[in-house]
Symmetry: D2
Subunit: 172 residues, 4 copies
């Protein structure tokens, strides 16, 4: 999203997402800091946990307190997965900030088959929410098809997520 | 452990641990492959998942089938934690091998305060076991004191681990 | 630089610099692709060489052929230096593109004392240009003072750069 | 090399090489520290510069002062090259120790075509020596053929290395 597109996006969207590649786009951060919409701020794939928190400060500082922090995988030497989902970031972000922490296992693993397990692990680590890409026919998806869940996978995952959420004292 | 120490270690130990810095020590891997003891093989902190599996092959190839694979954190650019615990490795190792997968959150996080959450996450991701360092007075520990749990933390953790293990269909 | 600032920047600047944190800012890349000014495109500190080339394509594709590619250090596990200057990128970028390759040892090392050696190495690796920060009183610099050369260092460096440039068949 | 092989290796070799995967093999380091032969200590591909220096201390501490430190590339997110040759390490090792610094561009790049440029850059950065793999018919090499120079490449490289060495005030 470009800062110039903000007015039209705000008219239709319920939440603004700052993508990983824009986490350091400070003029955009300030702009969404003046919006009335909540902002989901994704961690840059090579940003440290502290840098994520500092980027959130740019938004909070403009008066928008509805910021959600999102761990979505970092770039490492490992090539078996698309990114390395850094779940360590979850309890650390919870301890260092009062903001809700969201995990995006879709990008953080990048392989459909392993996304359910990492979704469950994210909730167990203390995530307040997870975001998942689901597509009814992922082979036809315009992008990222290989990492989209199919609806049946989601249907099987939800009760497992609920069970783990309950086990760690959370509701789903 | 040096290969020359193996006979005396074997006389007293119940399990042989190959540390992360020895994961590529092929002569040692072959040596423990001829032992009757189970081998816990820790992932090198900059070894890929595939390299871990290949190191396990050196042991299996000598006839020792009791190999446990251990994820203990990888080295990344992140400095807020000692290592980055790569829980993605858990479901991948489970899918690619038939070996038990152990997670070591103690080294993988390196900060006492966040080890319980990551222990629970490891079980949720599908780990067959976790290994934890516990010390009754960590300030006096000869090494790694800042990452050792104290006994009360362990006592509080165990029922939470059991609840999550049950929620994902496992026993503790 | 924000895309909205482009008209005023264009009025005064001789060259547009896309900073490392904006290498993936595709709307900005397209915008400067329509400028008549040359563009110095810095590699994102965790962007691959191929991603740098793809970002350059966004600019070239809009008709601006005056693009300079700049290696300025990547983020790795090494903490002794601010970044790891990836000089491997120089001959590879020269082989894969026809664009001039610039090296920024100031950011790529981050420690004043070692910048001269890496400047010389960059020229030896085939760089078409290097960019250096110089400050007459770096202790008073508003940013990055610890990595600015002082004028006397530059004066001593230039003849050494010239000698190495000549040795590899280039003029300074 | 296994510590047990040392006596026979010592009988025939002129120099002991500790490979990157053994840089943390402390019992082997101590063993070669008691040898009368010089030791080429290669940096582990994910070892920091400080860790390399600490490994050298294990050897020096046993009385063997003939240690050469070797930069041979580190593991990063970049996949265009086999490793990322960290030439920043050269001036830093020269400043922090009094040991000779060797660079191995063969492993540090991993692609034959770019090894000459990086050899020259290594000398320009201040390396005391470089080590190169050369093979008269690399397609038949048992390992690492794709990164071996052919003799004609070496013949062309040597005068260029000499010219750059002279330009930075060194002899070849």
């Amino acid at each position: 999203m470009d800062a110039r597109d903000l007015p039209i996006v705000e008219r239709y969207a319920d939440c603004l997402q700052i993508g990983a590649r824009n986490m350091h786009n400070f003029s955009l951060l300030k702009e969404v800091g003046r919006s009335h919409l909540p902002v989901l701020l994704k961690r840059g794939f090579s940003a440290t946990i502290n840098e994520l928190i500092m980027s959130a400060e740019y938004i909070l500082n403009e008066g928008n307190m509805n910021v959600l922090l999102c761990e979505r995988g970092i770039r490492t030497f490992e090539t078996a997965t698309r990114y390395t989902l850094d779940l360590n970031a979850v309890p650390i972000l919870k301890a260092k900030t009062h903001l809700p922490v969201v995990v995006d296992p879709t990008h953080g693993v990048g392989l459909r088959e392993f996304i359910p397990q990492m979704s469950i692990a994210a909730v167990a680590a203390g995530a307040d929410a997870i975001m998942l890409e689901v597509h009814h026919s992922p082979d036809l998806a315009k992008s990222d098809g290989e990492q989209a869940l199919v609806p049946e996978m989601l249907a099987k995952l939800v009760p497992r997520l609920r069970a783990v959420a309950n086990a760690v004292g959370r509701d789903l």
